[in-house]
Symmetry: D2
Subunit: 410 residues, 4 copies
């Protein structure tokens, strides 16, 4: 039996837990140590640290304090790990906490970060997803049921000071190109009271908090990649930058679509991971690795019948963009939403499905100037009903009486 090295109590604030942190900094002390070859478990909060409740009111999503995120469990030290090594992490299993068999999906208000389709869904909305063993359903989105492709949205090792400085420099440069933009172009170190630097205290804490990188973006070390396929059963090779590696993780998702388009985003949950670690000495140079690489799991849900939607890089106003995959994928998503509405779903329900179900987003063509072509792969087996086109036209399966709760702020 694997020991639980980091525990979390969902009834207490993550700010009181010394094995939690929410910024990246090399000075965050490693609190627990393991050896190569060890198996162990750790627990995690949901990414917001418990700000969102299992109810039908989206006010908590509207009012979420994003400066708190993401609450990570770690850093975990691996004896013998040195800069330049690859830390091999086998994710042997992941689950929701026994007392918390539910998750949430939200659209943030455009005032508070928004999401991929924030121009179309500018207000805060929330759907709750109940877990039934390996499956999930939502009382706010009838007619769909999925097996979970459970994964940590965020996982990686501590940066060293040089890498941290590089992150801060380049992100500040981008931010400065439009500092008043809402939402902002980047989230910068803020040193504020909610910067949780683990067991670092006093001046050392304040210095680290002032320069600690936010956990929002994915970076060289992995971090907030939100890759749905980095799931239970996968084997990941992480770059190591500091002695002991300092592995941290959190932001567990029960299920998510490629792109995590709703931003909040996946079906977010608190839970636990069962891990095993090994080292490849000097692996970064040996294999030319800059960002993590991974072998996906042998055990994932089989949703392999699809209806596929195309999108090109012409935006909603008809303006032509140059090979812009971001816009092309947005069009593919909007096309899928329009399609689903014909069967009775509200736009918000369709958006929630694309964010939470194991949809695939493929970069199909990126060279045929001036249009990128992206495809959104909608798995058809997640629906209770037959959603394929036919000569008779679509059947409205839903009457609109149920929708995703909305909390206005505009």
């Amino acid at each position: 039996m694997a020991d639980t090295l980091i525990s979390v109590d969902l009834s207490e604030s993550p700010l009181t837990n010394e094995n939690i942190h929410n910024r990246w900094h090399p000075d965050i002390p490693i609190g627990v140590w393991v050896d190569p070859g060890d198996e162990f478990k750790i627990e995690t909060y949901d990414w917001t640290g418990g700000q969102i409740a299992d109810n039908d009111d989206a006010a908590d999503v509207r009012d979420v304090e994003l400066e708190q995120v993401h609450y990570l469990s770690g850093p975990i030290g691996v004896t013998g790990a040195e800069p330049g090594d690859l830390l091999v992490v086998e994710i042997l299993d992941i689950g929701a906490k026994e007392e918390s068999q539910w998750g949430f999906n939200g659209f943030f208000s455009k005032q508070n970060g928004g999401g991929f389709l924030t121009e179309h869904f500018p207000q805060a909305q929330k759907s709750i997803w109940d877990f039934h063993g390996m499956f999930t359903t939502s009382r706010h989105v009838p007619g769909v049921k999925y097996a979970g492709l459970i994964h940590p949205g965020l996982i990686g090792c501590l940066p060293d000071q040089k890498m941290l400085d590089m992150w801060n420099t380049r992100e500040k440069a981008l931010f400065d190109t439009d500092p008043d933009r809402i939402p902002a172009l980047a989230t910068l170190p803020d040193g504020g009271p909610t910067a949780h630097m683990g067991r670092l205290k006093g001046e050392a804490r304040d210095k680290a908090a002032a320069e600690g990188a936010r956990t929002v973006p994915p970076r060289e070390h992995g971090g907030n990649c939100d890759i749905k396929d980095l799931s239970r059963g996968s084997k990941v090779y992480f770059p190591v930058y500091v002695e002991g590696a300092g592995l941290s993780m959190g932001d567990l998702h029960f299920s998510q679509g490629d792109g995590e388009i709703t931003f909040c985003g996946a079906i977010e949950m608190a839970g636990w991971l069962h891990l095993k670690v090994e080292l490849i000495k000097d692996g970064m140079a040996k294999y030319g690795v800059k960002n993590p690489i991974f072998k996906p799991s042998p055990i994932t849900p089989k949703y392999d019948d699809f209806l596929i939607f195309e999108g090109i890089s012409v935006d909603e106003a008809g303006t032509q963009h140059y090979l812009d995959v971001h816009i092309a994928y947005r069009q593919a998503c909007l096309n899928a939403i329009e399609y689903l509405k014909k069967f009775g779903y509200s736009g918000a329900q369709a958006y929630a499905i694309l964010g939470t179900a194991p949809v695939q987003g493929h970069i199909s063509g990126v060279v045929d100037i001036p249009n990128a072509c992206a495809t959104l792969w909608l798995p058809t087996d997640i629906f209770e009903w037959d959603m394929m086109p036919n000569a008779d036209g679509p059947v409205k399966f839903l009457d609109g009486s149920i929708d995703v709760p909305l909390a206005p702020d505009l």
Copy 2:
């Protein structure tokens, strides 16, 4: 037995074939007609119309005349098809022409269109791929062998005048933002001598040629989507804009990776398609369809063991970009190339593999500001050797004596 409605003779110029065209225009006459429910075959040239030869000299790729492309077979009329319908096309089979059991992959010179990694591979290079039944190998890229995921890179219906005008307007607007750029931001109608308007002749031909859209980008009708999964066995629902639909296609690929990153691009070949057509009357409105949608084939190669590479939207110079999936995917591709080089491949060979093998490109995260995260899924079963990382480090399987031919022009 299905009749062959359009034949091509690879020993003759496509310009002499009345059932071929290389521009999009509603006035291009429909030459062959079928009824809903019909099965039929058509033949196609490779997209360049035979400009590239099966040899070890990349000069033809360097000197290719891109104003000629793409040579399409069609338009095919479907009786009863009206604007607003969906044309349902079942791709019952596709193959290479019996006398032409090979294909090519090329990198265009940066002077002549370039490709996804043109800054890294600025000169013309060419690899030749031989077909062995369902499989392909290349004398220029040892150690890999794939079953073909054969598909038309380009397929769609004729636009009406209104849609054509919209295309031309928006692409011209983009082009005009940087008219001297090389490569250009968009390819505009040119009315030149190589504009092949099918059986349209004289003044009517000249007028149509002058405003006929180039076939390069994917657009609302589908067109040059280069979606590898729109393969033999798939069922596609195309928007119809003109009476009779006017379905055309070409640019057959024996195999391709997501993104078709080498631009020329896939394993390009001449061949034939076996098709069946049906109609969904008024289907565009019924299903809210703007771009084509499709159901992929039940019969595709099983390459489902992967090594996955991550990329983020920080470019090669270290500059931070905002949620730019194009850059993120480029980084993932470059990471994969660096990895493959450790096993002895040249950069050009690795690039050719990413362009021709059934790699997947996923839009993994598009909301975690400021970094998009894209993943490149490299199928491991295409390699003769074990390419997974291990504690011993990579083995050099290749000694560099073989490479992809290059024809300099810089």
Copy 3:
């Protein structure tokens, strides 16, 4: 959260637990009730009720008391279920008990039941398998690792008296054709002291024990089918014979190959199931169902690269049998064992792999007189090493220093 309706304490004898039984009889009282639509959990012993220990001595497998098996949890009543209905059981999840993260595989002595290859492996042997999250490995069988395809070996509803009588009559008739055979042709009701009739006591218990069918074979109600694909995530339609249905189950397997050829047999474990039940009223007649039918899980391990071995119905002595699939499959298994021995496995290790890994056994041809043809599909991804044939011949990966413990009795 689903409630646990039946608990088991692994430190206590199953004979003391009123929600356990080990014979089939309509008089066994239903102890717990649920409604259609309910979700709930139940716990189970391993099939032997704890007779086998996690150690390196096969004496417990040699000396196992088979008259005790199988210990089942139930019967569970479903309100409204009537004879002729179909009971729809969704297996939402299954797991090992937290305190018991291991399982066992054994070959019974030929004196005590034997197994599929008992002539080749006549003595008792035992391998222990440790669970690592979703995966398992054995200290007795190096070089293999599998994700679990976890399933109940035994599940079904109580028979009514008429069906019970039919079972007893036909099995007695077979037994009587060779009553002295070892192993016996069938296990008949024995009424002995280890017949556990749940909460039935006194005379009623004795009467039921005397005629209660043994749990060994699969029958019309399902029962001991040992179908590896009836796993977590599957949806099963069971015939109902008595008021309330009376669903019971046990004999959990972490992993098993088609045929469960080692008899003891799979990786046997104690654990829990999370279930949901529904009814199809009069479903047996509506759908013509005699034996259970099921839809397999959307989430199963992906072991889809195989090396396939053929076998025909000529036995080890060279005698020709008529379309005998049993013999053909035995030959395919023996062929696979010979193959694995070339890589250094002992015969017992190879046999244990075929019994525990998700191998497939296909009935490939049953009409080409006089030979049946069966195929054994060995998944290659379960091995640490490359097990495919090549021109150089096999590499011996194992030196024979480790083997499966044996406890002699012959």
Copy 4:
């Protein structure tokens, strides 16, 4: 381009073609030779040599001359092949002959060989299947459509005299246990006029014909295995018994279910194969190979949603048999047929589906005395309609106006 080494003319009798034979004997001369590493094509008749026509009359199936079968193309010599080697055959592609885009499935009369369910379907019946590129449909079995899993039902190398003698001895011994049985227990050498010994003539022909083994059963060399997964794209390792190997094949199937239960049996067709051969010297001993082994194709139809039917070894009369997989599979098939009849199919249509569609037959349990458990996996995606059970009961999609033609002889 691969050369066609053996051609067949479907308008001429196979008895006139010197590269065809229908018995196994070491003296059959090798007519064409290839080298290791060579690619080549060969053509084949359908297994009956053209006795069955594309019409709606089953008389030809009723009156088929089975002493003629199977017409094989070969033997093909491989230079350097010696007894004890493994001949590695890559099946690079298979197809129907261009002029013969159809196949047949038949039930033989019980007077003439019968089939797996001959007691239930004792009379001759025939269904015709039209090919539509990669797909097939039948005018006699509405509502189903499958992509072809095309394979040679029969392929293997010539036996040496010792092996031939062993075959003849053991099969005669079985035959002699019930020499008057109809259908016979085995088909023995007959030396009759339809024994086609290739280019062997005169006395040598007569001698070989008198002892040449019939091609009906699978044997050590492979032969008539009827394994649906030994399909285009697979790689097979065949034992070699004679100098030059002497590879022959035929009996092409467009599609077939596990067991080939209708005997005639699959969708039978004439066609061609594209092959590549290699040798593993002394491979039989190196790898302990007695029967062929193979690696299945990376490109097969994806029919992976199933409804699974169980069967146990209690026969239709209620008699208990001991671990008899043959009977268990028959019960699973009969259960599936009863299920399909509820949706409107006739029994014969359902039987034809089980024989021709890519159904799987698994040996699920073979140790739980006295019942074997077999499962029949019915792919649900081959049906136009939703065939899953639900609370409302089945819908009759067919009105019985169409059925499989029958030609009485009883």
